[in-house]
């Protein structure tokens, strides 16, 4: 293998502000077509943009999280092209001086360790609307609800050397963006979209000609598309041909890409300074204030979970994967502060498995953090045993009732009454006189047999610690 793959990624992520970038229209997903439009985002004559401060704040926050430079003065430009879902015939973007530059993200690499991926810039721009063609013969339909929704375009350096690295970068970035709460980043809703610039070269050779892959909207397709592209380019070169710089559209159904060159040829974006928007200025103090309000990032969370809650590094890692999971853990510990480690265990080992089986996500878990906390309370106060608790949790998943209701209804309450346990023990001993004799003659290992019999007799409800204690006493008496 004498080929090296070079990949740079451009991610467009919708900022989750309530309103659009330049007007007061709602950004709520899934509304009636064109019901969230106004003269500004429809590009009507004389209408002017006014920038949403929230979008600025969230872009700065993202920049700070990737250790980037925040440009205290940045500029907006117009990118000109005609398309029916682009009402003004230009997109307001940042071309010459973006808000954020020179950042980086460290990604985990196979075999341990990390690799640093440079992030060239993050600039703000507005999204276009949606064109719909499906099921239509000779026309397309245009919905402009998305027109003007604020976007961050996050442009990486060509630092990735495989599809796996590209996916690792994207996952890392996706996780970061979710933790910062700057975007819904739902790929199915188009809130996190990726274009990949891919080229190949012989090791040590200068950069090859790149192709831009568009429309990569799942981690799986991104890997497939890049792998496909790498093979395509190597074949071309090995056959004595030359890779052409072009835009290619990946078709995830056919598993192949096709050229959009015809469209490309006509493109000349004619960027120039947006005369309707003066320079965007932020002060060092504002940036410092945003930095001070930075939420915990996954690595910080992981460390805190280990330090504060004494979690194993495995549990801490699992439970800091998503913001939702980490929030659930925090809520669970708040509900059941007695033993965070046990709480984490139940979440990581019991609840997550059950959620996976039932096809739920943590955000729509049928068992809330406070409900699970109550269950853990019942183990701690000896109302039920840990074993019974697992059955109760199964039932909670099924019917959504509280632990107390289920324990009550099913009579699962643990027996901790010495008299009742002594009676059960006596019954077992009376029924097994031979075993008692053997035990007394020195066969210590029969102790476990008696415990099992007593627990069985109590249908699991006897307090195991108490059974042990009383059994020892009665056998030796």
């Amino acid at each position: 293998m004498s080929w090296e793959v070079v990949i740079g990624l451009e991610v467009h992520t919708q900022i989750n502000s309530k309103t659009k970038a330049f007007c007061g229209c709602s950004t709520e997903f899934g509304a009636e077509p064109n019901s969230q439009t106004c003269p500004v985002c429809l590009g009507m004559p004389g209408q002017l943009p006014v920038l949403n401060n929230e979008a600025v704040q969230k872009t700065i926050l993202t920049g700070l999280a990737i250790d980037a430079t925040i440009n205290l003065e940045s500029k907006f430009d117009r990118k000109n092209y005609f398309y029916p879902d682009l009402p003004k015939g230009y997109q307001i973007s940042q071309f010459t001086v973006p808000l954020v530059e020179h950042g980086h993200l460290d990604i985990p690499v196979e075999g341990g360790g990390e690799k640093r991926i440079g992030i060239t810039r993050i600039h703000m721009e507005e999204d276009a609307g949606k064109s719909m063609h499906e099921g239509l013969d000779s026309v397309s339909h245009i919905d402009l609800n998305r027109s003007g929704v604020p976007l961050m375009e996050i442009v990486s350096e060509p630092d990735m050397r495989s599809a796996d690295e590209a996916v690792a970068y994207l996952k890392q970035l996706h996780q970061l963006i979710r933790f910062l709460d700057v975007s819904g980043a739902d790929m199915e809703k188009g809130q996190f979209r990726c274009d990949a610039n891919v080229s190949v070269r012989r090791f040590g050779a200068p950069l090859g000609t790149r192709a831009e892959l568009k429309n990569l909207n799942s981690f799986r397709f991104i890997k497939q598309a890049i792998d496909y592209e790498v093979v395509r380019q190597i074949e071309i070169i090995e056959d004595g041909g030359q890779v052409v710089q072009e835009t290619r559209l990946y078709d995830s159904v056919k598993g192949e890409s096709r050229s959009m060159r015809s469209k490309e040829e006509a493109h000349d974006y004619r960027y120039f300074p947006e005369p309707d928007l003066p320079a965007l200025r932020v002060t060092a103090e504002e940036v410092a204030a945003i930095k001070a309000g930075m939420p915990e990032l996954p690595s910080q969370l992981r460390q805190r979970f280990e330090r504060e809650y004494g979690l194993s590094s495995y549990d801490a890692d699992v439970l800091s994967q998503t913001l939702e999971l980490a929030r659930y853990l925090e809520d669970l510990i708040a509900a059941h502060p007695a033993n965070p480690k046990i709480a984490a265990n139940w979440l990581a080992n019991e609840l997550l498995g059950r959620l996976k089986e039932s096809g739920h996500e943590i955000v729509n878990s049928p068992v809330s953090a406070s409900a699970l906390g109550l269950l853990l309370d019942r183990i701690a106060d000896n109302t039920i045993s840990g074993k019974i608790a697992k059955d109760v949790l199964d039932e909670m998943m099924r019917c959504g009732q509280s632990a107390d209701t289920i324990i009550e209804a099913k009579g699962l309450k643990q027996v901790s009454d010495t008299g009742a346990i002594d009676a059960m023990i006596q019954t077992v001993l009376d029924a097994n006189p031979d075993s008692v004799a053997e035990f007394k003659s020195g066969k210590d290992r029969l102790f476990g047999f008696f415990v099992g019999q007593v627990m069985k007799a109590s249908r699991g409800q006897a307090n195991p610690a108490l059974v042990n204690e009383r059994l020892k006493l009665l056998l030796n008496s």
Partner: protein, 487 residues
Amino acid sequence: MPFSSLETLKQRLDQREVSAQDLAKLYLDRIDAHNTLLNAFVHIDHDHVMAQAKASDDYRAAHDTPRPLEGLPIAVKDIFCTQDGPTRCCSKILEGFDAPYDAHVITRLKEAGAVLVGKTNMDEFAMGSSTETSAFGPCRNPWDTDRIPGGSSGGSAAAVAAALTPAALGTDTGGSIRQPAALCGLTGLKPTYGRISRRGIIAFASSLDQAGPMTSCVKDSAMLTAVMSGHDAGDSTSVMDAPTIDWLGACDQRDMKGLRIGKPKEYFIEGMDADVRATIENALKQCEALGAEIVDISLPHTESAVAAYYVIAPSEASANLSRYDGVRFGQRCDNPEDLNDLYMRSRDEGFGNEVKRRILTGTFALSSGYYDAYYIKAQRVRTLIRQDFLEAFEKVDLIATPTSPITAFALGEKADDPLTMYLSDIFTIAVNLAGLPALSQPCGFVNGLPVGMQWIAPAWQEDCLLGAASAYESATTWHQQHPEAFQ
């Protein structure tokens, strides 16, 4: 009465000598009588005008204090979006466009109690200096109806000059208020860029456009600007901390004692009409008599201003006019074959030749390979032009120049020669590039045609312009002369 100033009409309204409905009727009758010839108005809705006038009279009856423009008829250029009636920017491409909103300035006029009398003719998308490129046909100059009224706000100028309305609004991107004001014997003010919100005014060149009044005297311009100006949160270029001005108070000045007036040598050149030049020289002598000191200055980059302007304005326009694509509003061609055909034909059929020329020029200047040599170069020259003014204002308080190198020319005279037409803006363009306030006022006649003098002030010092212009006006009678045929 038709030739009265806003100030006079306001007094008569306040003293209940006339009602807003009387005034509306008076001017509507004059429009009916003269508009066929002048073509100053492109849209009039008599009933709607009368309804506004009645509402104003009702307001006056119900309130102790009338609003600042209570009952005063004001015409507006067809470039201002109005919820009532059509807004066309005098272009075919806006056929069917009834704006679902008012321009910010229109809202302010309405809130001040003004009666909007209709939309005035203009060059299509304000691109022109003669009001000949209008989709509604050319407008004529009341002083000589075989001549153009100037442009692009020619309809507003002709309407005020013929007293079809006592005052009107225009917009000025490279002289479009001042040049027609000069050619029709009016006062026209282009305020500092950022003084008046551009929201709802159809954009030509966003970094140059500014709205302003066209009136029969200086104080009327002050009255209107006082209402129109101020920060608008809906226009990011409307300046938030602009120095405020006592607009009416500034017009009380009666002399020019201690005023240093700069006379730039680049504005008194070979090739300009010798009589126009003599008229301005004479006006400056009068200023000296009023106590001013005339200082010879130089604005060395003046010569490049037209070239820089004809890169910057068309570049911005080429993008501003991309939204006219036949998708969401306005003209769409019949039976488009495909998307490209929809764009190409709708825009071909909708835009006139001058607009096409400017879009093509701008597209070219921004296109890859030419951007640096044209667009960026022009923006650098723009910096030099502004610096010229800043340096000059270290020596003088105001600058005085001719507004136009010539008086009104004949209809059709320059229509086939775009470049010559462009050069008629030679004295007004630099002001827009620098974002400065400037005012044109009548200062004499050449062969029966009005000549305008332009005052230029440092940014935000409109009070200085109004003061000098008021002093000059009080010492002269040029503004009291009216075209005979419309008396």
